[in-house]
Symmetry: C2
Subunit: 426 residues, 2 copies
């Protein structure tokens, strides 16, 4: 309904849209700084009030008072599977295939390791791993590290779009082992067709791994419907888990019994407290656990996940598209005189929940914009990135952000010496 | 001075020893539950007051108010190297070879991966990894996972003591690649001679990895003097970092330039924010980082490390030995009628900071003892384990713990049905 941006052509209309927003109530569940339009929830989500309460409880009562007893009494041991189960529900993962643990990078290694091992057993000649050149770099770095470490003829090949993926799959033929893509691109906000791409990978005999860092909590994901094989992702963006909160890894039920991952630590053992010599993997997704988890970060992050579980996901997607479409429309209408290039798809079906524009002075522009109270971020090269978390960003925020953006460009505020100095943007 | 336990043969003498204890002031820096003698700091250290303050600051101000800007403004990015530097200082690691990150298990994989890679380049036939049968299981599980994943002729062989290590090194000959031992055994409390063992490993052409989980913050460690190659360890035991707080990995300066580890994520990249295609390792120990760290847990743990840095390490060791020797002496004198078997070395030079006794009903005995307010823990098989953190355990605590232990055994409190039920001990 709201994704017709032409309906919101005044600030009053935006305020009215906020008043009618079925998700408006969620904003009060977050603590946001005064006087700031926060458009960087795609990098670090805001603090849920309930997370603050939970952190204090873990700190003072569970660690401080119950001490070692908390592993059982306060269910610390269960946190990775319990929270993982909740994340699994958010991404259409079905029952029991997901654990919350470690980092996205580490989980890439586990999922890729498990996928390559399945291929090694069934099709030992399949040694090509396909990913996207514009993938978030750590995904590629982890593949590189694994390829070099295995030193056994594995190879990473990079594609750019659906057409070059099709070409590469055709060229790889019976060598294609794994396709690993990030569902929503971190820079452009472009979203792959998960179901269609997974089908193509499978037709070529490859297993499919999806990175959901910019998807979970932001766009509809149904791994089961897409017939995906593995997925990984972070929780500190749209799931508002807190800075560096543990990531997740999901294994399709079709692989769960068989899958084995290389980081076989004691938390993934069937009976960790037998202290037995000889690794025996746990049942289910728990075998994708490895070492002792950072409980303070892990327990605190559950508050953000619990909010995400209460949100109507159709309403969330609808509002996300309305916000991003409104932002694109207002920027293009009101900032038309400036050298801005939209790099996010106009096609809503191919768009995540953030919008990026290139500007030749992107770095200084973003610094100036932050000084005006609009917090987005900057990614090389020249990319201004604006994330719209529908839980706490409203239509009037979009209006105000565009007005600040216009001031920064019209009045050339970005020319101020303090914004010209390179370094960190925030 | 205090390690002559015969001097403390009354509770009053223990109270007097506490009053004269140069480390007594540290106890007030921790929040400990009322009415409990906490002898499990070797499993989960107590909560430093400063950690609580730091956690609230990170939560409310850094995450809640400064949001994404905290990565730079509040130095989140620097936490792994800054805190790692402090830990390096505690373990005689010299400058810059240590980072605080991930879990002990993951860091085993990195250190072992780096060591095997060095050997692969210099001595490709060295494929034998030697560890101890009684090692903490996750260390062995991680080796197993790596050996299976590499699928390239690597082999794990297990030894029991110095003699069988010597035999195995002789038998392995030019095949020995790595010796990986845990400095202080998690169950028995036995401590290896770090310098002597490292020399033997090197004489056999193997690289030496030390696991310091039960050493860091508890016993003197000088990795440089021992000429060790790599070390790993956790921070949530004697360093009081909090439940599951990030672990550490140390790389000897002699390997730092050359070492490459397989988990090559973006935090270990030379310029992570260039978002460049192609992994280029950072300078120094930072290349042993991988993914985004759990900031709430990581920042909070620094408080415990800072306390450890202020402690006189000779005084710490002296008190640790006095406490463990006193405990052994009192148990053997006052509980002589009971079937208790000391499995911790009497020789102080071979003892860490905990003491373990076997008892045929160990599980029920520990449950009963915890009900009496003395929190130790239980490890299969039949082992009652008592950890003595000199920062917050005193001589009168030892006396009281032994008295409770005596009550549990003399009055057979452990026979109560609620203590007979198997399951978690705490």
């Amino acid at each position: 309904m709201m994704s017709d941006p032409t309906a919101l052509n005044t600030r009053d209309a935006c305020v009215a849209a906020d008043a009618a927003d079925p998700l408006a109530g969620f904003r009060d569940e977050f603590l946001l700084p005064e006087g700031v339009v926060y458009l960087d929830g795609n990098s670090l989500g805001a603090l849920p009030r309930a997370a603050g309460e939970r952190a204090r409880e873990v700190l003072e009562q569970e660690w401080g008072r119950d001490l070692i007893g908390s592993w059982n009494k306060n269910h610390w041991f269960e946190l990775p599977t319990r929270i993982g189960g909740k994340i699994g529900a958010l991404i259409g993962g079905g029952e029991g295939g997901c654990v919350a643990t470690d980092t996205t990078s580490i989980n890439v290694f586990k999922a890729l390791g498990a996928a390559l091992r399945i291929q090694r057993e069934d099709h030992p000649d399949r040694r090509v791993i396909i990913s996207e050149r514009e993938n978030f770099p750590t995904d590629l770095y982890m593949v590189e590290g694994m390829v070099e470490f295995l030193d056994d003829g594995y190879e990473l090949r990079l594609i750019d779009d659906e057409a070059s993926l099709a070409d590469e799959l055709a060229a790889s033929g019976d060598d294609a082992a794994v396709v690993m893509l990030t569902h929503v691109n971190y820079r452009s906000g472009r979203m792959w067709d998960m179901t269609g791409i997974t089908r193509r990978a499978h037709e070529a005999g490859a297993l499919m791994i999806w990175d959901l860092c910019h998807s979970a909590g932001a766009v509809p994901v149904d791994l089961t419907a897409a017939a995906a094989d593995f997925a990984i992702g972070c929780t500190y963006k749209y799931l508002n888990g807190g800075p560096g909160s543990p990531a997740f890894v999901w294994i399709s039920p079709k692989h769960l019994e068989r899958a084995e991952q290389p980081l076989s630590g004691w938390w993934g053992h069937r009976r960790p407290f037998d202290m037995a010599v000889g690794y025996a993997p746990a049942e289910g997704a728990a075998k994708f656990l490895c070492g002792t988890q950072p409980i303070l970060s892990l327990a605190t992050m559950e508050a953000g996940i619990d909010i995400a579980l209460r949100v109507d996901r159709s309403a969330l997607r609808e509002k996300s598209l309305a916000l991003t479409s409104l932002f694109i429309a207002l920027v293009e209408e009101r900032l038309a005189a400036h050298p801005l290039t939209l790099i996010t798809p106009r096609d809503e079906a191919s768009r995540g929940s953030h919008v990026s524009f290139r500007h030749p002075e992107g770095f200084a522009v973003m610094k100036a914009l932050i000084a005006e109270g609009v917090v987005g971020d900057y990614r090389e090269p020249e990319v201004l990135r604006f994330g719209f978390t529908p839980l706490y960003v409203g239509y009037a925020d979009v209006w105000d952000a565009v007005e600040a953006f216009r001031r920064v460009l019209d009045e050339e505020l970005w020319r101020a010496p303090e914004f010209q100095q390179r370094g960190a943007v925030t």
